[in-house]
């Protein structure tokens, strides 16, 4: 009796799991393994015939200056987006949390870019960067600075894409910081105030340590998001000028779908996977240590 029921239960469980397992198997597990398999082959663009070449795709990438530049661009882009977006959104969240006036209006303004995709964010900013008629260089001229040709200058294109990305990411981060701030009990802050701590001391010695896990969490998510950035780059610069905004994901896209180098692009996918996994693990171990101390 009970064993027939357990068989029935098992059958039901697997039936309910079937749709999820089939889809995830076909479109996550199989391609993850296949990416690795393809990365060990040279794949003909037309016949799709595969020749095993061992680690040659990886070796070629490691001596390719273009690929190294894309790695460097990704790291630079991550630094240029994560640091400002974490600092600015933390500041905005603390101010939003303390401020009792126009609460909903101000919250809505800061959170709104959450509803904007990276491609649309790029469209909102593209004319702003126009060298001769855009508002950014007009504002710079007001303070007597000769603005660069933002998207057309190898030095300024990556920072320009980063500014747009930071604008878009702030709303997302503010949501988490507001949630973190809301979980800090009010009496802790009041006790510090009664002990004579001023607003800055209360933030630095009371609020920030309690917010540390949230800060780290937001940083992890931001790093991962930065590494995956694609839409805004595709719209604003298409990797240019002269490869200055060609980040890892963009390079992968170009090699896979424009240059039809399936093997090499697969090796890039595997490297991207490993890099992102390491980033996540490092950040998690830092987070754990922070929480313990």
């Amino acid at each position: 009796m009970s064993s027939s029921r357990s068989i029935k239960n098992t059958a039901l469980a697997w039936t309910l799991l079937l749709p999820t397992l089939v889809i995830l198997g076909l479109f996550v597990f199989y391609p993850a393994v296949d990416s690795f398999y393809l990365s060990l082959h040279e794949v003909d663009a037309f016949s799709m015939k595969k020749v095993f070449i061992g680690l040659d795709n990886y070796k070629m990438l490691l001596i390719s200056p273009e690929y190294w530049q894309s790695l460097q661009n990704s790291v630079m882009f991550t630094i240029m987006t994560v640091v400002p977006s974490v600092v600015l959104s933390l500041a905005a969240a603390v101010a939003l949390d303390a401020n009792p006036y126009f609460r909903n209006l101000l919250r809505t303004i800061f959170l709104m870019p959450v509803a904007v995709s990276s491609a649309m964010a790029a469209m909102l900013w593209i004319f702003f960067y126009n060298p001769s008629s855009g508002y950014l260089n007009y504002l710079l001229e007001l303070i007597h600075i000769n603005g660069p040709n933002w998207l057309g200058d190898g030095k300024w294109a990556l920072p320009a894409v980063a500014i747009t990305t930071v604008w878009k990411d702030i709303g997302f981060n503010v949501i988490f910081f507001l949630a973190g701030l809301a979980s800090i009990p009010n009496d802790v802050r009041e006790a510090a105030a009664i002990d004579g701590a001023n607003a800055w001391q209360r933030f630095w010695f009371v609020v920030l340590p309690m917010l540390a896990p949230t800060v780290l969490f937001v940083a992890v998510v931001s790093v991962i998001n930065s590494f995956q950035s694609f839409g805004q780059i595709h719209i604003l610069t298409q990797g240019g000028p002269a490869g200055s905004t060609n980040v890892m994901v963009y390079n992968l896209y170009r090699d896979a779908f424009q240059n039809f180098q399936t093997g090499s692009a697969s090796a890039q996918a595997v490297i991207l996977f490993v890099v992102m996994l390491i980033a996540t693990l490092i950040q998690f171990s830092v987070a754990k240590r922070q929480i313990r101390s």
Binding site: V28, M112, A115, W167, Q228
Partner: protein
């Protein structure tokens, strides 16, 4: 008393300090709104003025003539709705099995499903493209929807929620297979509504904002989603007036912005849950 007055002063400072970045933050949208009313030459007038000369809607009308904006919006709505529905449905079934039924191999399955959350989409995109091409699905709705019709994250989220519902409910009813399914939809699903709603928002926004996948699996203009369709304006900007491009951007951005303003609370809850990914 003294504490209260400095408290009050601090709050006023916070408000004042907030208004400046708030204006900076919303400026790109205001700027694009202003550009969308300007004609071909006015856009390039220097120094630029935020108040346009005329408030004519001609650019908006031209934008609809330049590209099938209605079709883009329809495609995005169809694809995002279908994807959300399928992800929620498959996640409910799988989460229920994992959270409420005892069977062998459960821990392994749960582990595998959680592992899929660690695999970024960029890593699987080449084999997935080859699969979809083999199925002759390039430039179809199936290509846009089917690969994303299940979500490891959705299963995990609902699993955690369903686990917290007291088990006695089920044991009292002494359920066999058929009545278990009824129990799932009559009791577990309604009780899990907060998690289901949050995940639906997260899933819908994610689907709507997808870029790389629809970029590679769509070819014809008729199949493009909002995110890809806007690129048409970007690549043709030599011949097209910037005012028209900006009008098109605002048209295509507005459904999500309106959804956000109308459902801010649920929207934010969906994003916070999603961010735990």
């Amino acid at each position: 008393m003294a504490i209260q007055s400095t408290e009050k002063r601090n709050r006023l400072i916070a408000t004042a300090v907030l208004f400046i970045p708030a204006i900076v933050h919303i400026f790109p949208i205001i700027y694009v709104l202003s550009l969308s009313f300007k004609n071909k030459t006015e856009v390039f007038k220097y120094p630029p003025r935020l108040i346009p000369d005329h408030l004519a809607l001609t650019n908006y009308a031209s934008a609809f003539g330049m590209a099938p904006l209605g079709r883009f919006l329809f495609n995005s709505l169809l694809v995002s709705t279908a994807m959300t529905f399928l992800q929620v449905f498959t996640a409910i079934l799988a989460a229920y099995a994992l959270a409420r039924i005892e069977f062998r191999g459960k821990k392994l399955v749960l582990g595998l499903i959680i592992a899929t959350m660690m695999v970024p989409g960029e890593v699987t995109i080449i084999p997935n493209y080859l699969t979809v091409a083999k199925l002759n699905w390039i430039d179809t709705y199936q290509a846009l929807i089917v690969p994303f019709s299940a979500s490891g994250f959705g299963v995990f989220l609902l699993y955690q929620f369903m686990e917290s519902i007291p088990k006695e409910l089920e044991e009292a009813a002494l359920l066999d297979g058929a009545s278990r399914i009824r129990f799932l939809f009559q009791f577990v699903v309604p009780l899990s509504m907060p998690a289901i709603a949050a995940f639906s928002v997260y899933s819908f926004v994610g689907a709507w904002n997808q870029y790389l996948w629809p970029l590679i699996v769509t070819q014809s203009t008729e199949m493009q989603t909002v995110q890809i369709g806007i690129g048409m304006f970007r690549s043709q900007n030599e011949s097209m007036s910037w005012g028209v491009i900006m009008a098109a951007t605002l048209i295509l951005i507005s459904p999500m912005l309106l959804l956000f303003v109308a459902t801010q609370k649920q929207f934010v809850r969906g994003m916070t849950m999603g961010g735990l990914k």
